[in-house]
Amino acid sequence: MATVVFMLPLVGMVLMLILARSDQQYRWWTLTTSIVTFAVSLLLVRGFDKTSAGLQMVDQFDWISGEGFSIQYYVGIDGISIWLVMLTTFIMPLAILSSFKAIQKRVKLYYMFMLLMEWAMLGVFVAQDLFLFYVFWEVTLVPMYFLIGIWGAEQRIYAAVKFFLYTMAGSLLMLLAILWLGNEAGTFAVPEILEQLKTGDLVFSTATGRWLFLAFGIAFAIKVPMWPLHSWLPDAHVQAPTAGSVILAGVLLKMGTYGFVRFNLPLFPAASETFAPYIAALAVIGIIYGAWVSYGQKDMKKLVAYSSISHLGFVMLGIFALNSSGIEGAVLQMVNHGISTGGLFLVVGVLYERRHTKLMAAFGGIWQAMPLYSGVALVIVLSSMGLPGLNGFVGEFTILLGAAGSDAISWWFTPLAALGVILAAVYMLYMFNTVFMGELDKEENKRLPDLDWRELYALVPILIMVLVIGLQAGYFFEFMDAKVGDLVRDISLAVAAGR
Amino acid sequence: MEASEVSVELYVLLSAVLFIMGVLGVLLRRNAILVFMSVELMLNAGNLALAAFARQWGNGDGHLMVFFVMTVAAAEVAVGLALIVAIFRTKQSINIDDLHMFKD
């Protein structure tokens, strides 16, 4: 079942290459594929057993195996990955829809990369075999590299190369760690490795555990990105086309945080416990630093990019609170950030398409010229700011709650992180005020057309999800609860046993 | 069979003579067909020696080999002649000294 969902974009892509003939057909074919993928992924939610902590809808068979090792095609979803899969399938149609007008050159190639991207990202989230995971992890780089490098802004090549190198550098360490683990365990399948760890068939020393944790952790930390490894992000975001930024912020960054939850916590619980305060400290620095730097920006996209660093700091803090409220909050916040920040990039993209500038100083009083658009933008800005009743708040609150009650990290992280809530209002309202409020005093802004239907269709689903998650977060937590509860218990057991 | 007692040496001698004739033919003639026939002569010289030794030792293996060689020779004739015809078609000559395209 999981296979069906994640293979759909690939099938759609192949069919598109064979059947579609004109630019218009490429667009609609891709959009249809991504919508169908979303619709089918809804079946995952419907068929999901909330009470089970294990993997569901598993597909598994041997891929490459030999003496003393086995690599499997092993996919499945659990309470954590289901929402990331849903996030991906939800964001993709919006990203595709938003590029109908913006992308006019090499259309076929562009949409091919979009579907390839979706396939690879879904692969990352469903893969349960380390090797398979690694393959998809690397495959995601390729389409993104080209999305930035071909359809980006002026300095696209620089940004694309930087993005690629940064991520590669991290993932090489991860590859080493994966090979080591696979060699020791004789299998690359994560559930099997975990089983071996639990039964004591696979034991490694504290020091080894820490090294492995770091090898995985650095790869993920670059992707998140955690302060101070964030410097590829503003470049990538500013240069990427709107849809690229949406995907990058919406889904790609989540692969990092997801990696921490999926691999670092269960595989190296003792090391997680050891490193938790340090990572939490970096996360808190990231929260404040990102928010502070955002306020100093003149370019909207850059502002949003830095705000991502701040938001993902919250996610990291939640994960390394190592309790269920923190981790569940973090997982929900990944989804929230995907929706809100994806939405923010769409919002910025709308203005960029009209004025071809992202400098805040070029605007002012847009609310008067484009009332509908500004209303939508306001809701998304508020959700990003964490207004209660909208999605951002639920994640932030549960994360802070987790951090405040955590045994793993010290109490003073919480008030510092909560400062980020004030600072978020400072930079977000700074942007909203300078762009949307105030007088409409620039001649070229006076005749800007309001949202057209296509743009509205891309933004309305975001508004809906902002409200649904904001008001009914309980529904989303229910899916994770069994899995995260288990994870937290396993961690504390493992820490107690000194693993 | 016992009546005509010809010693095996004579057969071998004949075979050697035939073989040397074949060798000389291959080395000296320029006509591809004659070269080809000389090769056949060498093969049959071998056949004769084999048959002779087989009789000498009263063992069927030699005969067996002869049949093999004949089969191979037949196949060789078919392929070889076809090649010669093909060469003649393109070069209008079967003089082997004309055939040194690789050298040039």
Partner: protein, 766 residues
């Protein structure tokens, strides 16, 4: 009667429907349609609040907890024990707030229909107003701290939108309005920071955020006051009809009471553990930070005066009557916690009393009619907060109710004045009278220096204004008299009877603040209504429409009478006629520590005399002569008070202080971080100079000398060698089959010879 409680979600949902209707169809409706929907929604909410109130009275004040229809639990993390449902709470406290919010709200909605007439964004204004009702009612009806927080930030959002409603005014005003809106939101966020931390702490202390679980009764207070029956300030207790303690799950407040009674309770927070008392002190101080933001107390009051940039109905509704009282409501709701922490109570009392006097002082030096009222609001909120600090929760609520009426009245009346002034100004332009009066470019319809003599032009406004002023000044028998007196009484009682220093301090500060109140209010009345018009616009001002004056009249009547709901015991005649402490005992069913003091004749007389004295002084100072030419304030002209006036006029340089020490440094550091540290140093220097450039140089080195210079050259040499050798060898290849055949023959011969070698060796005898 219990069934009626199920209506409570409608209190929130009806305004929500009104808001959505106007949001989507407002443009098609036209002004009238929009007005009907918005006012209707507000009135319906009020109606339901009244029904709930009656139901409360008739069911013996049993609190009810009602689930939100349709929606499931908001947040539910079973493995962490966290469950935040959407639950409404109907008890006397929330019903009081509902009545105030929707009642005053409805009147202001009606008024606003007149006030906003002709505005280009008329529908949107009412969308925001209804949205505000949604959030405000959610704030007061929620049954847990987080739901309150939804309303809490939601009203902040509405406040932001409404302060910045005229963001597009030309000539820099639009930007100023936008900035004021942003300031309000951000300052409030600072308060919310405290509140949210307090909520986190509350959860980890009590493992729930519900005030009370469904079916649970608020614990009865152990009225220590009953122990002493002192003659002067003998307390009069509301009769105790609290119900037996509940069984089953237990909410925050009862848990706190139970643990406090138990004593020596330690709270574990993972790594550290604290005593319950310390924890509660911390929680209440954090809540206080939230309250100082929302209720505009020191040090976060700076946003409220700027918030007057919004349309006047907004100032009346949000920034005087309802939203700003949310902090007081929250502290009264948490009275169990505040009551148990002496330190927090002390801090609360001091902040409230100091705010009351500081804001009262600043109000004296303002020229803008709305700014005076804004500082007055801050000051009155200080009264309420101080009341919470001295443990007079009922008095705080009482003052909240009366203040909502008379301050809404004052704001609306001031709006009417502004409207009249603008009208006069328009009139001037239309009829070309621009040549007399002041320089027209400087005209500001809100500046009291341009007014004067409006008494006769706007009689209804004038008389209602007088009612509001007298109520605010605390003159008998207006509403403010009863509530302010109650607070003063409770403060001194807190000092004398309970021996708390904060009681004395608060009493003195509040008494002085009350004098200020009477003074600046009458200064305002004199400037606006008495004397002769000082500007042509004032001369041509005219009374506002009925739509605006009718709500004024209703509010004026309320300002006169609303105080009667809580006649103190010991008051002659009225108390016997109307019942004693009706309101306090009503509140007592949900506010554990609600109590009321007995009337003290001496104190009341003193307060009234002080107020009247201040009024007299104000009128004496701002007499018709000084009012005739009011370029500068008489206080400014008198050298004894000139400095003080300048200080008040500059708002004690409070904003400047924040700008200098917080905002500018923050902004400069942000630019430094963004441009220098993150970009030039980290992005450019560290990555380009330290990583990329050395890498490039190393690449260069490997490419040029190492690869090209050494490895590549040697391979080239090898290649040359091979070629030379092969040049020699190619001679062998003749191309004649014969030559090859010969070599094959020689080869064959060689093989044969090698095979025969042993034989030859034998033959040769070797």
């Amino acid at each position: 009667m219990e069934n009626y409680f199920d209506l409570v979600p409608l209190v929130v949902l009806i305004p929500l429907v009104g808001m959505l209707t106007n949001l989507f169809f407002g443009k098609r409706f036209g002004e009238q349609g929009v007005a009907i929907v918005a006012v209707g929604a507000s009135a319906a909410a009020f109606l339901i609040a009244v029904i709930l109130w009656i139901a409360q009275v008739n069911t013996g004040y049993v609190p009810a907890v009602i689930d939100m229809p349709v929606l499931g639990d908001w947040i539910n993390i079973t493995s962490a024990g966290l469950r935040i449902p959407w639950e409404f709470r109907v008890d006397s406290l929330s019903v009081t707030m509902m009545l105030v919010v929707s009642g005053v709200g409805t009147l202001i909605h009606i008024y606003a229909v007149g006030y906003m007439h002709g505005d280009s964004r008329f529908p949107r204004f009412f969308v925001y107003m209804n949205m505000f009702l949604v959030f405000m009612l959610l704030l007061v009806t929620g049954n847990n701290f987080l739901m309150m927080f939804v309303g809490w930030e939601g009203v902040g959002l509405c406040s932001y939108l409404l302060i910045g409603f005229w963001f597009d005014k030309p000539g820099g005003v639009g930007w100023k309005n936008s900035d004021a809106a942003r300031k309000a939101f951000i300052v409030n966020r600072v308060g919310d920071f405290g509140l949210i931390l307090g909520v986190l702490l509350t959860f980890w202390t009590f493992r729930t955020l519900d005030y009370y679980k469904p079916g649970e009764m608020p614990a009865a207070a152990h009225h220590e006051e009953a122990a002493y029956e002192e003659t002067l300030f003998a307390p009069d207790l509301p009769e105790d009809e609290h119900h037996e303690t509940a069984t089953g799950p237990i909410g925050v407040f009862n848990q706190a009471s139970a643990w406090l009674e138990e004593g020596d309770h330690e709270v574990n927070f993972g790594v550290i553990s604290l005593s319950l008392e310390a924890t509660i002190t911390l929680i209440t101080l954090l809540f206080l930070l939230g309250a100082t933001g929302k209720s505009a107390q020191i040090p976060l009051f700076v946003w409220l005066p700027d918030a007057m940039a919004g349309p006047t109905p907004v100032s009346a509704f949000i920034h005087a009557a309802t939203m700003v009282t949310a902090g007081v409501y929250m502290m009264v709701r948490s009275n169990v916690l505040y009551h148990s922490s002496d330190l927090s109570s002390f801090v609360v009392a001091m902040i409230g009393a100091t705010t009351a006097i500081v804001a009262g002082f600043i109000a004296v030096g303002q020229w803008d009619i709305k700014r005076v009222l804004a500082y007055s609001t801050v000051s009155q909120l200080g009264f309420m907060v101080a009341a919470v600090g001295v443990g007079a929760y009922a008095a705080a609520m009482f003052h909240l109710v009366t203040h909502a009426c008379f301050k809404a009245l004052l704001f609306l009346a001031s709006g009417s004045v502004i409207h009249g002034m603008e009208h006069g100004h328009h009139h001037l332009h239309e009829h070309g009278h621009g040549d007399h009066g002041h320089d027209d470019d400087d005209f500001d319809p809100q500046d009291m220096r341009f007014m004067g003599g409006l008494k006769d032009k706007m009689p209804v406004t004038y008389w209602t204004y007088i009612f509001g002023t007298l109520a605010l000044a605390g003159v008998f028998p207006f509403a403010g008299f009863w509530s302010k007196d109650e607070i003063l009484l409770d403060s001194i009682k807190h000092g004398v009877n309970d021996g708390y220093l904060s009681g004395y301090l608060a009493f003195v500060l509040l008494l002085i603040a009350a004098v200020f109140t009477a003074f600046y209010m009458w200064r305002q009345v004199s400037m606006v209504f008495y004397g002769q018009p000082r500007h042509a616009a004032a001369e041509h001002a005219s009374e506002s429409s009925n739509l605006m004056t009718r709500p004024l009249i209703v509010l004026a009547i309320l300002s006169l009478l609303i105080g009667l709901i809580n006649i103190p015991s010991g008051f002659p005649i009225l108390g016997w006629l109307l019942g004693k402490h009706e309101f306090t005992s009503f509140l007592g069913h949900s506010v554990t520590f609600a109590h009321a003091g007995s009337f003290n004749f001496l104190l009341a007389t003193m307060a009234v005399i002080l107020a009247l004295g201040a009024i007299y002084a104000a009128r004496a100072l701002y007499n018709d002569k000084t009012l005739a030419t009011l370029e500068r304030d008489p206080l400014e002209l008198d050298e004894r008070t000139a400095e003080a006036f300048a200080l008040a006029n500059a708002k004690l340089y409070w904003d400047e202080f924040y700008f200098k020490y917080i905002i500018w440094p923050y902004r400069n550091v942000a630019y430094w971080l963004a441009e220098k540290l993150d970009w030039e140093i980290w992005h450019d220097f560290a990555h380009e100079r330290l990583i990329r450039d050395p890498f490039n140089r190393a690449t260069q080195f490997l490419a040029e000398p190492v690869d090209k210079g050494f490895i590549d050259r040697n391979f080239d040499r090898l290649g040359t060698l091979v070629r030379r050798v092969s040049d020699r060898m190619r001679v062998i290849q003749t191309g004649y089959v014969r030559t090859y055949a010969l070599s094959v023959l020689f080869g064959a011969l060689l093989v044969v010879i090698l095979i025969l070698l042993p034989v030859l060796r034998e033959l040769l005898g070797l």
